[in-house]
Symmetry: C2
Subunit: 273 residues, 2 copies
């Protein structure tokens, strides 16, 4: 999917919501265990319930990988079930040297046909570039994550006074551009969004920390939104586990719809709609 197509979807759906399919088998409603593939059944119903209110789905690969070969089947089926006009993100946080990154790129882009994959920057250029050679595919680079450990290194100051995450942003602009690179930015650091927008004014940011991890959508829009929106805001548990009962899909729909409404208002305030 191109940037233009993604922006088109955001305007069409009046939403920049990404639903995180962190479908932990231990947390899905118990009655689903009667099905052949309980997690796929769960995902299918979540997708049916939320697809009109979101523009992206982001399965965290760990939840599937932990189930072994069965998990990979579930992931593949889930991906095929997602409507083609919705952006798909493999939240894999991969990052390895060139020939290995090539294989990961092949797995996520060719075999599974994801639109994007999250990549860790620690190993630098040759761990990122193999992903960037795919046309209309995206790398979403970890820049500033919302977890507490994000403070251990990402916000350390370098010799020249810049934060490590600023260095990551600047360096990455030598490898790609706003048509194939996005960045993970933890919403709980909304005050740093201004800094980030100075370096990558036109790029999309994937904001994972709204909801369970505690960021505010309003702050994110105020400091992070640009004139083509430039934001994908993710919510995982807050939506998919809104209820643990038989009504889980309806509850997820309600949650997604409510966030979409809030997003619509914010998009109008910024004259994007």
């Amino acid at each position: 999917m191109t940037k233009e197509q993604l922006v088109e979807q955001i305007k069409l759906k009046q939403s920049f919501l990404c639903v995180g399919l962190d479908s932990d088998p231990l947390k899905i409603p118990a009655f689903l265990n009667d099905f052949d593939d309980p997690v796929f059944e769960f995902n299918k119903r979540i997708i049916d319930a939320t697809k009109d209110y979101c523009v992206a789905y982001k399965p965290n690969i760990a939840f599937y990988e932990a189930q072994g070969t069965k998990g990979w089947d579930t992931l593949q089926k889930t991906l095929e079930y997602i409507p083609k006009d919705i952006f798909t993100i493999s939240d894999a946080k991969r990052g390895d040297i060139g020939n290995t990154s090539n294989l990961y790129a092949r797995a996520f882009f060719d075999s599974m046909n994801f639109d994007a994959v999250t990549v860790a920057p620690y190993m630098g250029k040759d761990s990122v570039e193999p992903f960037l050679s795919y046309k209309n595919k995206w790398v979403i680079l970890l820049a500033l994550t919302s977890n507490i450990g994000g403070l251990d290194f990402q916000t350390k100051r370098l010799h020249n006074g810049e934060f490590l995450f600023e260095r990551v942003l600047k360096k990455s602009l030598e490898w790609g551009d706003e048509e194939n690179l996005m960045y993970v930015v933890g919403a709980t650091r909304a005050e740093l969004l201004t800094k980030i927008r100075k370096i990558v004014p036109n790029s999309f940011l994937l904001i994972p920390g709204v909801g369970a991890q505690g960021g505010s959508l309003k702050d994110v829009a105020e400091f992070g939104m640009n004139d083509t929106c430039g934001l994908l805001v993710n919510s995982s548990r807050g939506i998919i586990f809104a209820s643990s009962g038989k009504d889980f899909a309806e509850a997820a729909q309600q949650e997604a719809k409510q966030i979409q409404k809030e997003m619509e208002t914010l998009l109008r305030e910024k004259s994007i709609l």
Copy 2:
């Protein structure tokens, strides 16, 4: 496996060789394609041929993951085939927030029973700690990698003058110790080993850059070896693809044996044997 047991194996085999099972299906000898699971057949013969000369095996997970569910089967079978007294490293370079790292830990330590997993440090403490809670299991933290991109961030100087990789080493000592933490250190930066040994004098280092990536075993031993050896030196392609013909296992054995001989000399020089 405990540190003591690993050191015992090193003395017993007079070797600190780790064989990287980067078994790319496109590179294994063509005649193996007649078998049900060509990659497993390849690994089995490589293991039979090299097990007397190495103390560790390190499959790079990308090569298996790229094959989808079939690849995970191959990996599992390979792991079960490796003799129990040999240290096993899942080269996965994972790193995600707490609840996700928990799942990766479960996958690699519980489901697959690896001894160790490589972890990327960018997301800090809560991405590493879940792996450290397993008894007699290991995190091998990326510190200084041997690829060219390793220079993009790892060797950047922080405000206080230290390199980022030094910060990673120091910080990690707040999370674990030499009984559950090792470090990936690229052999092509042998001159930096001295710096590293000042911070982690007693820890094991996994050195991936000897062979195809161009490091020298002698330098590594000179600057990196401590009084319990403290080194696992990896060779992947140089051993497993030493020949592409029917004699690939014999060729791998010859390579492994030659490295083991060199290692034996170095261990004697340091009075470890």
